[in-house]
């Protein structure tokens, strides 16, 4: 075998050179970003821009003078400054109540669902949902994140499904359980890294209203917040998922009003009189390896013993179609409530959510890998998934018979080699 010294020499001789033409093109882009940043620090036109400059006394005086001038003209008037991102999202982050409409459209422009939403701080939500193909049938969903209850009502059928969250670990952060949770999380994440996460889109017009936009980008998700130029209140919020699981859809939040009076009785999760009741429990304990096994069990049973090709979220989502021909992921429609397969679909959704959650949150050091593409259910000698937690001497391996075993790293290295040869 090659000596370590030879390997070291090989590293020493390994080199990358750059092509001059491309070199200049790359540097030009970097220089532009640098020049803009330098200029940006000198002109306090946007959020956070003046923070470090303000520490310098002479600049502070100059900025104070500039601020007085701007105030005299009118900040949002002719030639006014760029509305700060923080000002535009502040109502979203601070709202005690909100009402709005969400229209979800498919990639070909078809209306998928229309929801009338209500939020009440800290964790109450009520949606009235209609689907694009059955706009006259509505389903009401009421969620109380604090109590861990959720209720779906189908008024036309008098059917109620009561959900109960079990095994919740710890208290919920009031900010996280607020009904604007996902949107707020995206905003907060973007604010931590505005240079990369937030893009100013400039001015536009929506429904005749002059608006100013900011776009948040996180992976494949894009959220665009358009605010009224005059009031700086959010006017329309668009959220799209380019890829990454499920069919592409765009959610457009419109008719947004904050801090309007709402009746707490509308958020009551008790089943109204006259409704037939179904009870479902939702396990919120931290996902474990057992959840991966559970998901693989559902998959293999539904797919004649074959395993998924990969454990990517998009692939695992296929499980819904394989197991239950569910073509409307995430949708709770009125007819769903009466459908005998509804409970099964919910179990599948839960299995997907928990298994993918476990895999997604494994640390980088876990060195996990899924190699089950060609495995057949029942094969006790074929590994399909392994991972290792920090500090552990061994790997945890799920085999094709869905057993779980502790395995030495050398054995896993052999699995790796075998898998690499196959691919």
């Amino acid at each position: 075998m090659m000596s370590v010294d030879k390997i070291r020499r090989l590293f020493g001789g390994a080199q990358v050179t750059t092509t001059p033409k491309r070199d200049e093109a790359v540097f030009k882009e970097i220089r532009t970003a640098y020049t803009e940043a330098v200029q940006d620090r000198a002109v306090p036109c946007a959020e956070g821009a003046g923070r470090s400059i303000m520490r310098r006394p002479i600049v502070r005086v100059a900025i104070a003078a500039a601020v007085i001038m701007v105030a005299g003209i009118g900040l949002h008037g002719i030639g006014g400054g760029t509305p700060a991102f923080a000002d535009i999202v502040e109502p979203i982050l601070a709202a005690q109540t909100a009402v709005f409409k969400v229209i979800t459209t498919t990639s070909d422009g078809q209306v998928f669902t229309i929801e009338d939403g209500q939020f009440m701080h800290p964790g109450l939500a009520r949606y009235t949902l209609r689907t694009g193909d059955k706009p006259d049938i509505e389903t009401i969903t009421i969620r109380d994140y604090v109590k861990g209850r959720s209720l779906a009502l189908s008024p036309s059928d008098k059917v109620a499904v009561a959900f109960e969250i079990t095994n919740r670990s710890g208290e919920l952060d009031p900010r996280r359980i607020n009904a604007f949770k996902e949107l707020r999380d995206r905003i907060l994440a973007a604010q931590k890294n505005p240079d990369e996460g937030v893009t100013y889109l400039g001015e536009s017009r929506i429904k005749g209203r002059k608006v100013v936009g900011y776009r948040l980008a996180e992976g494949y998700r894009r959220t665009t917040i358009w605010a009224d130029v005059e009031t700086l209140l959010p006017f329309q919020i668009e959220h799209s998922r380019g890829h990454g699981g499920g069919s592409p859809k765009t959610e457009t939040m419109t008719d947004i009003r904050f801090n309007v009076p709402l009746d707490p009785a509308d958020f009551d999760t008790r089943v109204p009189p006259g409704y037939s009741i179904e009870l479902m429990q939702m396990d919120e304990s931290p996902p474990t390896e057992v959840d991966v096994v559970a998901m693989l069990r559902i998959w293999t049973e539904a797919a004649d013993g074959s395993f998924p090709a990969s454990l990517t979220r998009a692939r695992v989502e296929d499980l819904k179609e394989i197991a239950a021909t569910d073509k409307s992921p995430g949708l709770i429609s009125a007819s769903d409530l009466r459908d005998p397969a509804y409970r099964r679909r919910m179990q599948i959704r839960m299995a997907i959510w928990r298994a993918s959650g476990f895999v997604r949150h494994l640390p980088e050091e876990a060195d996990w890998r899924y190699v089950g593409a060609d495995a057949v259910l029942g094969d006790a000698a074929t590994p399909v998934f392994w991972y290792r937690l920090e500090g552990s001497e061994t790997y945890r391996v799920i085999y094709a018979d869905l057993s779980l075993r502790d395995v030495a790293p050398e054995v896993v290295a052999a699995f790796e080699d075998g898998a690499d040869q196959k691919h």
């Binding site: 390997i7 390994a14 080199q15 990358v16 790359v26 970097i30 990517t312 060195d367 790796e416």
Partner: protein, 181 residues
């Protein structure tokens, strides 16, 4: 070293020549490191460009403890991890995929050009688990000590040394008979 300090000072004062010096001094070094870590030249180019872009945008905010090279290496490691996460941690290891790009003859319009040793080492490294690949690369290519690597990997020195041992053993086997004949 004095030259570097002067360049960093100029850079932080907003002078483009400071940025130019840093770019010229470290671009190839970082590209080489990225190729070894990702096994993919295109992604390496993206990651290194991102590191310089971020450096440029936050020129007045960066706090360099120690030397600039180590700072840039840490930024690059973070960027590569972010890209790896964004790639969805695919079980097929799309991000850490077999190094098809490493072994390709690359067209001239690309930024990075690899010599033969880089091709060979890149192909071999791509077959190691990412954490072993990191340790071996940071040790042999970047010349970092185990303590520094442990800090970057947020792991104990023992763990890092173990990863190094496993990584080297596998590399010895992979490279046996293929190079230095």
């Amino acid at each position: 070293m004095l030259e570097e300090k002067l360049a960093v000072w100029r850079f932080r004062q907003g002078h483009v020549e400071g940025l130019r010096w840093i770019y010229d001094r470290y671009k190839a070094d970082l590209l080489g490191l990225a190729v070894m870590l990702t096994g993919d030249v295109d992604r390496s180019e993206d990651a290194v460009q991102d590191v310089f872009l971020k450096l440029a945008r936050s020129y007045d905010k960066i706090r360099i403890h120690g030397n600039l090279r180590n700072y840039l290496i840490t930024c690059l490691m973070n960027r590569i991890r972010t890209l790896r996460r964004d790639a969805g941690r695919s079980v097929e290891r799309q991000f850490d995929a077999t190094p098809t790009h490493v072994s390709e003859v690359r067209p001239p319009e690309h930024w990075a050009s690899l010599n033969e040793q880089m091709h060979q080492i890149g192909q071999a490294l791509a077959q190691l688990p990412s954490e072993q690949r990191e340790v071996v690369t940071l040790r042999f290519h970047a010349g970092l000590g185990f303590r520094q690597i442990a800090r970057i990997q947020n792991a104990s020195i023992n763990t890092v040394q173990g990863r190094f041992r496993y990584g080297i053993e596998k590399l010895r086997s992979l490279l046996n008979g293929e190079v230095m004949r």
